[in-house]
Symmetry: C3
Subunit: 273 residues, 3 copies
Amino acid sequence: MFATILENVRKTCPLVHNITNYVTVNDCANIVLACGASPIMADDIGEVAEITALCAALNLNIGTLNSRTIDSMLLAGKTANELGHPVVFDPVGAGASRLRTDTALRLLNEVKFTVIRGNVSEIKTLAAGSGTTKGVDADVADRVTEENLGEAVAFAKAFAAKTGAVVAITGAIDIVADAKTACCIRNGHPMMSSITGTGCQLSAMTAAFVAANPDKPLEAAAAAVCAMGLAGELAHARLAPYEGNATYRNRIIDAIYHLTPAMLEKGASYEMR
Amino acid sequence: MFATILENVRKTCPLVHNITNYVTVNDCANIVLACGASPIMADDIGEVAEITALCAALNLNIGTLNSRTIDSMLLAGKTANELGHPVVFDPVGAGASRLRTDTALRLLNEVKFTVIRGNVSEIKTLAAGSGTTKGVDADVADRVTEENLGEAVAFAKAFAAKTGAVVAITGAIDIVADAKTACCIRNGHPMMSSITGTGCQLSAMTAAFVAANPDKPLEAAAAAVCAMGLAGELAHARLAPYEGNATYRNRIIDAIYHLTPAMLEKGASYEMR
Amino acid sequence: MFATILENVRKTCPLVHNITNYVTVNDCANIVLACGASPIMADDIGEVAEITALCAALNLNIGTLNSRTIDSMLLAGKTANELGHPVVFDPVGAGASRLRTDTALRLLNEVKFTVIRGNVSEIKTLAAGSGTTKGVDADVADRVTEENLGEAVAFAKAFAAKTGAVVAITGAIDIVADAKTACCIRNGHPMMSSITGTGCQLSAMTAAFVAANPDKPLEAAAAAVCAMGLAGELAHARLAPYEGNATYRNRIIDAIYHLTPAMLEKGASYEMR
């Protein structure tokens, strides 16, 4: 199933509009190119509606949100909704400040999202309407483990039902769910958390996958999550003993560049719940 | 000829002021260092005039333009003009939104540029005063090929005559032209288009080359275009089978770092028209 | 001594709030992760106080300062002072424009810094209240050499006494001083100056080191400077002949990732004065 999803990205080369943070923006652009799509970054309120209209999907990321870009995100999101374009939301750091939480909730309220991707603490903050995320990483107490997986799946499905979005909670075990079905994914490598922006990159790539597979948002988001995790595995296997997180960052994008539909189909490690 | 151009960059180490986008800014800084020059990034209206005065050249790039930086670009450009400093313009995405097209035209109207570098769709937008660029890549219909090369050269010369700038249209075949002479360049590798920002990097490096060779803007711009293409060839030859666009990005900058005047002279593949 | 300093970073994984420039921000985030800490970047005035409160240290860098972020830096700095959190200041380009010099002096006046790290021209600008830095690199005339080292140490101690901060002047020879003691460091490699942002990265890492060793700011800052220089040495030793500044950038961060307390203890090259 995931082979076709990736084939469609490579065939259609969708253009993806990103309003994202300045920390990981270059990696987001390069991973979108690596998967076969094309990125454009534009955040001024004077052009975001036109740029969104030109693109096949929109990716909103609040990693370094500011008063200028929040309005741009709202306008771009509403425009994408009017045009029926898929919209991915990455609520980076929701729960870490009132501004982030309020902005995330406002976006959730005013924009209909196709996929919401975050770590478990960020998604819990969105679901609860408040939170206490410690920075941009998930709280240890929140983490999804084999023990609490059933509960986490039920939570993801419920939040998907409430929002109408596919919900992707990523971590050691990833959950991608709509209201009825969840895909639990066990690809990836722990060292991915020592790179800034693997989550941001995944959200940008998810927008490309959903754009190329507009009728299958659950499968597309799950395929993107598997692809990222698999790239993390492949890249780690190729690290020399002295290579660390900076080289690993490049190798993950390289692995996406060389990932074939057959490799994704074979390497994806998931179960449906 | 190009050997001396690069030697002058290495000898004079010009300081280059960049007002550029936040997507590729780090790569722009590193490639300016790689070629032997020194970058400074500064975009606040309160300091751009002073920073420009301190530098030997200015590079303006509208890749993530916004209401704050547009005014800074205008002021920096006018200041550079008053001081007789060379100014390079990269109209990223001109034609993709009214804001980009209008800003590009306004800059063209109020600032005298030494070199204008873009893909063919961006340059056509500037020449026509409007356009429909699809994102930040050139439209397939616009592409310069062996078949339409004569026509494209005439167009580049005419736009150079109109603006008084050297016009660099980059793509599979690159054209660098002033009103009378065009240099058609066949260096480069198709994989360069799978990296974000090779165009932005080239514009930043062009500013360094023009700064170090102020009386030869055509030769300096052509040398920079050849150097970038040659770096793309050298870097590609060194890629391991599993290395993709992220590693390729690093290797291109590495190749510029190690490029000698003799290598550039020998490897440059061009004809004058 | 430095072994324990690094061990404490790895053990406590401090969260570091960075308000920094958009040129080198990704590298700053990755080096903070590499040393064992965790970065968060946030610069909107609406959230910086909360984010600072959440973190163990604050790093302020004026590399691409603008009217919006200057107020955010002041607020974050004052908040960190109220909470007793360590604050690192990197006055990038102080002396290159009136805006940079004035902003640096205003920050120095309104915020109490734990560590001030810059090149010698930037620090001299702060001490004199004005300056004529050429861009973001130290003036040749200012450089610390074996000949003027005694004078430079006296200057660093005097500025440390005046500000109450540990002063880190980095260059070919680094000086890290409080009012009474200076540590002169001879780690590093000349090629580090061909990468953008090694200074920015060092400042971000210094914030992590100071956060994990709050009672030893001199030792922590000196250990960070030694670690960065040692990483530069180790990374350079591993460069293939065709690898240049872009790969070197990655390898330095990689070297920090793999740096053990014992390696730092053994490799640190310094003398107390």
